[in-house]
Amino acid sequence: MLEVTDLRVNYGAIKALHGVTLRVNRGEIVTLIGCNGAGKSTTLRAISGIVRAAGGSITYEGRDLAGLKPHDIVRLGLVQAPEGRGIFSNMTVAENLELGAFIRSDRDGISADREKALTLFPRLRERLDQSAGTLSGGEQQMLAIARALLTRPKLLLLDEPSLGLAPQIVQIIFRIIREINEQGATILLVEQNAHMALKVAHRAYVLDVGRIVMEGKASDLAASEDVQDAYMGRKRAG
């Protein structure tokens, strides 16, 4: 479904990605893990067309995304819930959700999807008319995901949905990620919480300073000593 080949991205003189290659198949949850500054967000930004690739290619459903604007890419069903939630804090929760449905005009479909999203996140329903800026961090993250669902993604890119959240909320978010996937959306999940990400994902890639250094089945990576040492906080004995 998504094919990223030898992707290179520079920020001015800084080389953020030195040739990232990864693939996401339809129906999968794929996770991309790595330390701070590894280039995970940059990878997602390049896929969404926010930053321009300096080299390599990104193909989605057989179509080269080079030169497409971010809003064109969204219209292809490739939707991103960005890092730091990116909610519109100057608007209400309801307005944020409506912006998620910006590209759609099927009124019935939108209200059905909105209902579905509010069933996944009942807390948001109680706060529809509240300014989104007054939500707690976890609620904002829920809003960001709910909003992305209203765009009706075929492929959903999630950038650190668990960042800064309490363990119970993290559990909820990951349960919902699995539900969204079971309902038909393919997911590319960027996480620092490798432990949870590897539990929910089918396959995984490990990114380190702009390069993919490991890839494979999520369960295999979770069992790998290198991954456990570097990303899951296991202390090496001796």
């Binding site: 604007k69 939707v79 990116g86 100057n90 590209i103």
Partner: protein
């Protein structure tokens, strides 16, 4: 009593003009975070285009003046001036500002000054509007509707104020109750996130410019209707008008549409009350004094957010 009523009337009438012009500053600032110095020149353009159209049409109708002008002529001139200025606003954004998207703000600011000078000097060309003041022929047959004490409420006052208010209500509806308005607010909050919603950011920015320019044109038209004599395009009084409208936007909270309307009214009233009850020679001083007070007490403006902007 009469003086009070007269002052309120003049203040509101002037204030609604400031408000109309302030909207353009605030909308462009809200979305691109820069001061569009060329905005007051679009007001000038709106005034002069109205004059030229009024002149040509009344002449074609036999020069009978307002008595001979059909009732809809004023409206037609207003709409045409708005559309023309809207197109010019679109062109300015496309040619001057869009290529600078992502450049430092100072570059855009300097470009805006350049655009302003370009418009002023083009307007002064003999083939365009020239360097002499001119009078707009009356488009509407004025009449006194109501007299309270010695204060006359005339048809032109009503039309001027009514038009300004109708446009502001229309804009408020657009910004707060339509999908496009929601997209405008989204782009102004965060361009990248807005694009991730599938919002065509560049088109929304263009649209914002066009709307601001159309309101400026309406401001110019109403100005011409009110003062009849129109100063030449580079006259310093235009700069002062633009500056006061900008102050109105800042006082109300720059980037905030309702703030601009409120700020415009506040400044119109303040200026007239100051001139009537204190000293009319200090008319402009009150406005800038208010600016200083607001910036000291509430730097974000009356309706603005209380956050300090990172520079």
């Amino acid at each position: 009593m009469d003086q009070l009523l007269q002052t309120i009337k003049d203040g509101i009438s002037m204030g609604s003009l400031y408000a109309l012009i302030a909207l353009g500053y605030t909308m462009v600032y809200g979305i691109l975070k820069f001061i569009n110095f060329a905005h007051s020149d679009v007001v000038v353009l709106g005034a002069w285009l109205s004059l030229v159209m009024a002149d040509t049409t009344t002449r074609a109708l036999g020069g009978a003046g307002a008595a001979g002008a059909p009732w809809w002529l004023g409206g037609a001139v207003l709409v045409t001036a708005m559309v023309a200025c809207g197109l010019i606003g679109f062109t300015i954004e496309r040619l001057a500002y869009k290529p600078l998207r992502g450049s430092p703000r100072l570059n855009v600011l300097i470009t805006a000054i350049g655009v302003s000078l370009f418009l002023q000097n083009t307007g002064q060309l003999r083939a365009v509007f020239g360097t002499n003041p001119r009078s707009i022929p009356p488009l509407i047959h004025d009449a006194t509707l109501l007299t309270v004490g010695q204060v006359n409420f005339k048809l032109l006052d009503l039309i001027g104020f009514g038009t300004a208010v109708a446009l502001m209500i229309g804009l408020d509806y657009l910004v707060f109750h339509t999908k496009l308005g929601r997209a405008m607010r989204a782009v102004s909050h965060n361009r990248v996130t807005a694009s991730l919603m599938g919002i065509p950011v560049d088109r929304v920015i263009s649209f914002t410019f066009v709307t601001g320019a159309m309101l400026a044109a309406a401001g110019g038209f109403l100005w011409a209707l009110k003062y009849e004599t129109i100063k030449q395009p580079a006259d310093s009084s235009w700069v002062l008008l633009g500056l006061k409208a900008f102050v109105a936007a800042v006082v109300g909270g720059i980037g905030n549409v309702r703030g601009a309307m409120l700020g415009g009214m506040a400044i119109g009233l303040l200026e007239n009350f100051g001139s009537a009850y204190l000293s009319s020679s200090m008319k402009d001083v009150y406005v800038f004094a208010l600016l200083i007070v607001v910036l000291l007490v509430r730097p974000g403006g009356i309706l603005g957010k209380a956050v300090v902007e990172k520079v």
